[in-house]
Amino acid sequence: EAGVAQSPRYKIIEKRQSVAFWCNPISGHATLYWYQQILGQGPKLLIQFQNNGVVDDSQLPKDRFSAERLKGVDSTLKIQPAKLEDSAVYLCASSLRREGEQYFGPGTRLTVT
């Protein structure tokens, strides 16, 4: 089966610019996650979707970050405007059930200059 796809793989932007990341989960996986992984740290959950509804966005900086999952499949994560501290790898993951194994994508490495 195809894995979790993410694009782009790398992105460099200047501060105050906007950026969007795309994720295509494994077919049939109802739960989708976005994580932020800052260098030297573990992944931090930003937002969790169940189908196309948000079930947890408690750690999403909502003043600048937004995410959506239209039709319960693909998802996009947007940052507007970006700050230097947003430099990180953004990981997308999906799972068949919310308590089940998470399958991770390759991540998008964002550098904000």
């Binding site: 979790v4 931090k44 959950l45 919310r98």
Partner: protein, 115 residues
């Protein structure tokens, strides 16, 4: 609040030997899950092993096994017969249900297997 601590930032082991990675966590919940994930250099994170807190038996997956001590809130990973392909970052993760499923990852242990 739930926390996960991995106190060993880096470790190394000789090929074919055994190594143990430490993880401790803090929670007031009784029902939860614990995971070890592996993140090889420039590759995707994958699940190594999973443990349900209600199960007393330690989980094993081939060369990987855990020592789950619920009372001590400890969840260590043992890798037997280490192979060069085991070189990776290893993350301990905790999940519990608090109205929704909450996931917390540790800061990781970088393991290098030496030939």
């Amino acid at each position: 609040a739930q926390t996960v601590t991995q106190s060993q930032p880096e470790m190394s082991v000789q090929e074919a030997e055994t190594v143990t990675l430490s993880c401790t966590y803090d929670t007031s919940e009784n029902n939860y899950y614990l995971f070890w994930y592996k993140q090889p250099p420039s590759r995707q994170m994958i699940l190594v092993i999973r443990q349900e807190a209600y199960k007393q038996q330690n989980a094993t997956e081939n060369r990987f096994s855990v020592n789950f001590q619920k009372a001590a809130k400890s969840f260590s990973l043992k890798i037997s017969d280490s192979q060069l392909g085991d070189t990776a970052m290893y993350f301990c993760a905790f999940m519990t249900y608090l109205g929704t499923y909450k996931y917390i990852f540790g800061t990781g242990t970088r393991l290098k297997v030496l030939a």
